[in-house]
Structure formats: structure tokens, C-alpha cells
């Protein structure tokens, strides 16, 4: 099959189908039949908690697999419109049935995650990308490893844990997880089982409803690491979670001079504080000659509010679909806080807010 696919994807065959691709024709025979398009059928939807669910997917043959920790662009079509979001893979790479899963918490204003949690039916066709992202374990996993996650930031870490379990990892893995409460914790039962395995030291902290007699409480502080006997300088560390958790871990590691050990992944874009005092200036969409007072929201949202329809994909700064030229002005990255002020630079408008006057090639 792989050879057939390689031949069909070749440039030579492309000469016969130009200006379209082979997939444009295969698609008409069967949507799963493709040499480049990655697609999958939903096998089942498992409700992990009241708000979070896992979708088990059977991908077509173009799917080249994933490394634990990676994410995938996940597109569903509703009322003729394809909506794409980025979700982390949560399953083990060692699954033998060719399936994999993504796990998502339904955000109140997240159309796709809500749809996935409430309305997704088995057999639904899903439009995927290949797995992406650098938040992955090294080929040779070191003996000491720390995994930290908060809330639904557990999903990529879960894929790592499951993979390490299934490959019979011999080193020591410490897993520190923060959830609001036990009922709000994804993968609760499976975590109980993994906790009993010798390779892992597991600590789950419920920030809102602490378990009785819990060893540790509250949000992340350096003492949590000390209690677990972790030396940040010598421990490769993966952190995935909300912006607050990531910021405090990063600050701790910076103080200790251990940032080279740190791998970070945000699981969602922090919502932008619309502080009227901060939002000054005018946002100009040059190509369409439209001006709007800066509302403080992301440029993508402001463009949509102004009646434009820029291209977008993940809306969280991953897929680069919304990348567009900024003619001039300064913009701030909503995640990193980094300000970009060069003229004629390409920015992702879904994760940038204007700082003062900005003009965009839109």
C-alpha cells in the first residue's frame, strides 16, 4: 500500500492531474482514500468528566503516527463549514489497533470542543493534519523525568505516561498534576492504576477540593518539587497547562537557572483582558481600507468584528493559517507577552493584540 501511495503522490502522476492533485480525484471515490489528506473516522467518544471527553479515531493510511506530546489539527464540518482546532493526542504510541485518541475539555465558547463533547457521533469524518509540535519526549528518555500538568493540560502528558508504561520504561518518572477536584480530573481511574506501577512517582493535587490528608495543597510552588525530591537543574521537565501554572514554573526554573531543562506547552490561549485603558490606538486594515478603534481583543477577533473574513485555523497560534503581514505598529503576543514592532513582518493574528496604532495587510 505504501508503495502505491508513494507512486500516486509522485510528481510524475501529478503531471497528469494538474492543476489538481491526485487526492482531488480519490476524494470522489471515497473520502478516506487519499495519498496526502489525513482523515479519520470517529470510533467512539468517551466522556472523561462532565466537561471533558476523549475521541478515539481510526485514521486513514496517510497518517504517519505521532510522538507522545504532539498535537493534531482537528477539523469537523458542521452546516457546510469546516471548523479546525488543535487538540493534543492522549493515547499511547504502542496501541496496536492503528487507532489513536485526542482528549479535550469543552470550553464554554469553544465551538469545536463543545461539539466534540456533546454532538460528535461515531463514524463522523474528521479532517486532520499530521501530528505536529516539539513538546515531545527525546528518543532516549533520561533516567529522571518530571511531568507537570494542570487541568486539561494533562492530555499530552497522558500520552507520554501511557507510552512510557507500554514501552516498559526503566527510569524514574515523577508526575505532578493539578486539577480542580477529583471529579474534574480526566483519566482519574487510569491514573490510579498507573500510580501503582514502580516506574512512576505520582502526585495529584486538587486545588479547589483538596483530598483529606493530602500531602500537598494549593497551586504550584517550589516546595512541591522539594517535597517530591526533584532537583530542577538535573531533571528534564515537561509542563503543560494554563498560563498561570506555566508562568510560575518558568519563574521558578529561571530563578534556579534551570530553564534549559524546561519544555512548555500551553493548552489554550489565555483569554485576553480587555482593559479599556490598555487598548489604545487605531487598528487599520490597509487592503480593505477599514479602521477600527483598538478594542484590546486579538487582531483576528477585531478583524472579524469589522466584518472581514481572514483565514484562520487553530485560533491558538499553532497552525499558521492566519499568518499575515503587519505593515507597521507594535503587537503583543498574548501568550508570551513578547512585543513585535518591526515593519513588514508576518504575524499570527489569532494570538496578537495591537499595542497602539497598528496597520495590517488585510
Amino acid at each position: 500500500m505504501a508503495v502505491v501511495r508513494k507512486v500516486l503522490a509522485s510528481n510524475f502522476i501529478g503531471r497528469f492531474t494538474t492543476p489538481h492533485t491526485v487526492d482531488h480525484y480519490l476524494d470522489q471515490i471515497h473520502p478516506m482514500l487519499a495519498v496526502r489528506h489525513v482523515r479519520a473516522r470517529v470510533v467512539e467518544v468517551i466522556h472523561e468528566t462532565g466537561h471533558a471527553s476523549t475521541v478515539v479515531l481510526k485514521p486513514n493510511g496517510t497518517w504517519t503516527g505521532f510522538k507522545p506530546g504532539q498535537h493534531v489539527q482537528f477539523g469537523v464540518e458542521v452546516e457546510g463549514k469546516r471548523r479546525v482546532r488543535v487538540f493534543s493526542v492522549s493515547s499511547s504510541t504502542q496501541r496496536k489497533d492503528g487507532k489513536f485518541s485526542v482528549s479535550v475539555k469543552a470550553h464554554p465558547d469553544g465551538y469545536v470542543s463543545q461539539f466534540l463533547h456533546n454532538d460528535m457521533l461515531p463514524k463522523t469524518l474528521v479532517f486532520l493534519s499530521q501530528a505536529e509540535g516539539d513538546f515531545t519526549l527525546p528518543d532516549k528518555v533520561p533516567d529522571d523525568l518530571l511531568l507537570v500538568s494542570g487541568g486539561s493540560g494533562i492530555t499530552p502528558v497522558m500520552s507520554m505516561l501511557r507510552t512510557l508504561r507500554d514501552t516498559g520504561h526503566q527510569g524514574q518518572v515523577t508526575f505532578l498534576h493539578y486539577a480542580k477536584s477529583a471529579s474534574d480530573e480526566m483519566f482519574h481511574d487510569e491514573l490510579d492504576k498507573i500510580a501503582a506501577l514502580p516506574f512512576v512517582q505520582m502526585m495529584r493535587i486538587y486545588t479547589r477540593e483538596p483530598a483529606e490528608g493530602a500531602e500537598l495543597e494549593g497551586r504550584f510552588v517550589i516546595d512541591h518539587l522539594k517535597h517530591l525530591g526533584i532537583d530542577p537543574v538535573n531533571t528534564l521537565t515537561y509542563v503543560c497547562g494554563p498560563a498561570g501554572l506555566i508562568a510560575s514554573v518558568r519563574d521558578t526554573y529561571t530563578e534556579l537557572g534551570a530553564t534549559s531543562q524546561l519544555m512548555l506547552e500551553y493548552f489554550k490561549v489565555p483569554s485576553v483582558d480587555v482593559n479599556a485603558a490598555d487598548a489604545t490606538g487605531t487598528l487599520t486594515f490597509d487592503d480593505s481600507s477599514i479602521e477600527a478603534d483598538n478594542s484590546g481583543a486579538t487582531i483576528l477577533e477585531q478583524a472579524e468584528a469589522a466584518g472581514l473574513t481572514p483565514a484562520y485555523g487553530c485560533r491558538m497560534g499553532v497552525c499558521n493559517t492566519c499568518a499575515i503581514k503587519k505593515n507597521h505598529g507594535a503587537v503583543r503576543h498574548v501568550v508570551s507577552g513578547q512585543v513585535a514592532a518591526n515593519t513588514d513582518e508576518t504575524i499570527k493574528i489569532c494570538v496578537h493584540v495591537p499595542v497602539g496604532n497598528v496597520s495590517i495587510a488585510l
Partner: protein, 420 residues
């Protein structure tokens, strides 16, 4: 650490489906005069608002039915192409061969008109499906999509029928409007039109390179070179496919059949391309060139209002009446008026929108040009024949001493104004 894939080309959402943009003049106080013989400024304002409401109503209603429709058309197009290409490999059985040529021609027509033209207007961008995305779509003819989108979606659809701005008035080749200056080459209006009809895809490609703009110094050399390169790449791919690869594939049949089979396959491709050329040429020439269609002067359109922009589109376009299959094969360009009012709503909605447009035209007493294909074609042909003759007015003859003197005076006045 592995690098993520390189940033993709910056996208511009406004290059392909740039919406109505008004012409702004130097004198911002001056108001455009378009349509004042038919309506007052207040009426024009209301008229514009009502059309805006029609557009919004359709945009709000877009959904599964529109997505299903364009996918159905794509499915038919692909099937026609594949079956057509296979059938062309049976030239020794002529009915199959003939059907093959016709199917391939229909496939190319659907690809260019109902799919390509409309998708590249951004009519289906809301679906967020890369297969019908205006930024990514490339069509089955020798004109590269990128340059066509600029020349068509932006230049032609914004400055529709304004002399000196809309390069589609006569395509720099014909005298199709009495306000165009006459040159001796216009004597050959009709034979030239026949020639262009047979080679239409090449004409569209050449038009998109904009050699005239470069020669007039209005385009940089870098831009011109880039256009030329894009055209060459596209030509190579199209020619290799239709005229080389498929005929060469037919050599495999020679031992079982006859030596001329590859030549017949080549011929079948040529004929299919020409049939497509003839069809698209005729439909497109009926869009703006029938006799009653109005053209405009830049001075009159400067500082036009929204309503005036709409009015200019209505007066500058003509519809062709017919049945549904006919409309689909024209890509609903038979609803040219509606298309020019709302270039970015899915074309299958034009018949429904046409009811509102006709109602508004009746209310305000506006002309609404519509007629059978034969009537519109006859109008275009007689227009081409009539305007081929040298006009009596020397100012209407482009290379007359009077015209030259007037152009010189205009140049000098402009230079003087620039100095002061």
C-alpha cells in the same frame, strides 16, 4: 529542536474577493454624477441600503445546501473528466471518441466557469475547505489563477466599465464601445474576435500578464517578470498534460490498434480545449458587450456612493436567459448583473437574488438588460461590426492629428500642475 515547517506565504484575504471599493477623486467635494438622470442622491442611498440587505440576507443563510451543491458540481466535473479522458483513448470507435471529447470539454467548462471562476471569487471561502478556497484554487486552463484574480476580481469588478480603468473593455483588442477611440486595427474587429474565440484561454493568460501596463511604465520590471514566469510555469504544465503526456500514454495502444491513435488522442484534447474556449468566449462577451450596456468616464465615477457603485454594475452588465443546466454551464455568468452586484455570494443564489434586483429595478425605473443567448450574441457581433468602421469625428480616431494634439495638451497641463 526540530523546526516547525517554514511560515507559509502571508495570506491576504482581500486580494481575491475584494469587495465593492469606491473610486476616490482628487477633489473630495465633487460628487459623482452616475445615475443622477435616473435617481436622486437620497434614492441612490436607499437603493444601496436595500441591496446591502439582500446580500446580507443571503450571507446569513449560507450553509449545508450550498456546500453540498458545489461538491456535487465538483463530483460531476471530475467524473466527466475521467470518463472523457478514457473515452478519448478509443478513437477507433468514433461514437465513444466523440462522447469523450464532449465530456472533456464539459469538464473543462465546469472547471473554469461554475467551479474555478466562482471559487476564485471567494464565494465558498466561508466553508474553510482547502479544496474550494480562493487562495489555493487553480483552474484547468493556461492562465495562472493569481494574475487572473487580480485582473478580474479587483480591477474588472471594482472599476467595471470605466474607460481607462477597466482593462476588460474590449480587452485592448476590440472597439466594443462607441466611446473608445478608433484605431486602424479595429477594422478587423470581427476576424480578431473569431481568432480570440478559438484561442480564448491563451488570450486570458496574455491579458493577465499585462504587457501593456508594463510598456506604459505603470508596472515594475520585477512584477512583470514574476507574471511572465508564473504564466510560463502554468503553460508548461497545461501543455505537457493535454498535448504530450496523454497522447504519449496512447502509444501503448499502437501495437494493438493503429499508428494514428496517439495523434487522435492529441486531436481530442485540442478539440476539447477549443470547445471550452468557444463556449467561455461567447458567454463572457455577452456579459458586458451587448449594445445597450453602459460605459462610464472616470470623472463621473469619482467619489461615487455605495448606491452609485451598485447602479454602475447594473447598467454595465447584461444577463442571458435560459434553463438551469445552461446557467450551470455558464457558471451563472448568465446572471451577470447579479454577479456584478454580489461577486462573493455563491452563484447558485443568483436566481433567488435576481427577484429582488428586478423588483428594485422596477421600483426605481432602472434598465435591466436580459435576453436570449442568440439575441445577446447578435447584439455583440453587430456592435463589433458597426464600431469597426472609422468614425467621422476626428477626436474619436485615436491616431488622428486632433487626438494627438489633445493628448499632448493634456500631458502638458498635467506636467504644469505637477510643477506648481
Amino acid at each position: 529542536m526540530a523546526k516547525k515547517r517554514a511560515p507559509i506565504q502571508p495570506l491576504s484575504a482581500s486580494n481575491h474577493n475584494e469587495g465593492p471599493k469606491h473610486l476616490v477623486g482628487d477633489d473630495t467635494e465633487k460628487r459623482a454624477t452616475i445615475g443622477l438622470d435616473l435617481m436622486t442622491y437620497e434614492q441612490l442611498e436607499d437603493f444601496g441600503d436595500e441591496l446591502d440587505a439582500v446580500r446580507q440576507r443571503v450571507l446569513d443563510d449560507l450553509g449545508q445546501a450550498d456546500a453540498d451543491y458545489i461538491r456535487r458540481v465538483i463530483r460531476v466535473q471530475r467524473a466527466a473528466e475521467v470518463v472523457g479522458r478514457i473515452a478519448i483513448f478509443f478513437p477507433f470507435f468514433w461514437p465513444v471518441f466523440l462522447v469523450g471529447i464532449l465530456l472533456l470539454a464539459v469538464a473543462k467548462i465546469l472547471d473554469n466557469m461554475e467551479i474555478g471562476h466562482n471559487v476564485m471569487h471567494g464565494q465558498y471561502d466561508w466553508m474553510n475547505d482547502p479544496m474550494v478556497d480562493a487562495r489555493k484554487f487553480e483552474w484547468d486552463n493556461v492562465a495562472p489563477a493569481e494574475d487572473w484574480k487580480h485582473g478580474h476580481n479587483f480591477v474588472h469588478h471594482t472599476y467595471t466599465n470605466i474607460h481607462g480603468m477597466d482593462r476588460d473593455i474590449g480587452y485592448n483588442m476590440f472597439r466594443i464601445d462607441k466611446d473608445q477611440p478608433w484605431y486602424p486595427s479595429h477594422r478587423f474587429n470581427l476576424p480578431l474576435a473569431f481568432f480570440l474565440m478559438m484561442l480564448f484561454e491563451w488570450g486570458v493568460m496574455y491579458h493577465g500578464v499585462e504587457l501593456d501596463e508594463y510598456l506604459a511604465g505603470r508596472m515594475s520590471k520585477a512584477e512583470f517578470k514574476a507574471r511572465k514566469k508564473r504564466a510560463m510555469v502554468k503553460i508548461r504544465r497545461q501543455v505537457a498534460k493535454d498535448y504530450l503526456l496523454y497522447p504519449v500514454l496512447a502509444i501503448a495502444l499502437v501495437p494493438f490498434t493503429s499508428w494514428w491513435v496517439p495523434l487522435a488522442v492529441l486531436g481530442g484534447n485540442v478539440v476539447a480545449n477549443i470547445l471550452r474556449n468557444i463556449w467561455t468566449f461567447n458567454i463572457i462577451f455577452c456579459g458586458h458587450f451587448p449594445a445597450e450596456v453602459a460605459t462610464f468616464q472616470e470623472e463621473d465615477a469619482q467619489n461615487e456612493t455605495h448606491g452609485q457603485w451598485y447602479l454602475r454594475q447594473i447598467m454595465g452588465s447584461a444577463n442571458i436567459s435560459g434553463h438551469r443546466p445552461f446557467h450551470i454551464l455558464t457558471g451563472y455568468l448568465s446572471y451577470q448583473v447579479e454577479h456584478h452586484l454580489f461577486p462573493d455570494i455563491p452563484a447558485r443564489r443568483y436566481p433567488e437574488v435576481a427577484k429582488d434586483v428586478r423588483r428594485l429595478c422596477d421600483t426605481y425605473g432602472l434598465p435591466y438588460n436580459s435576453g436570449r443567448l442568440s439575441k445577446q450574441l447578435f447584439s455583440v457581433a453587430s456592435q463589433l461590426a458597426k464600431l469597426a468602421a472609422k468614425p467621422d469625428d476626428p477626436y474619436m480616431v485615436g491616431n488622428s492629428p486632433e487626438s494627438k494634439a489633445r493628448r499632448r495638451a493634456k500631458r502638458e497641463a498635467a506636467a504644469l500642475a505637477a510643477q506648481s
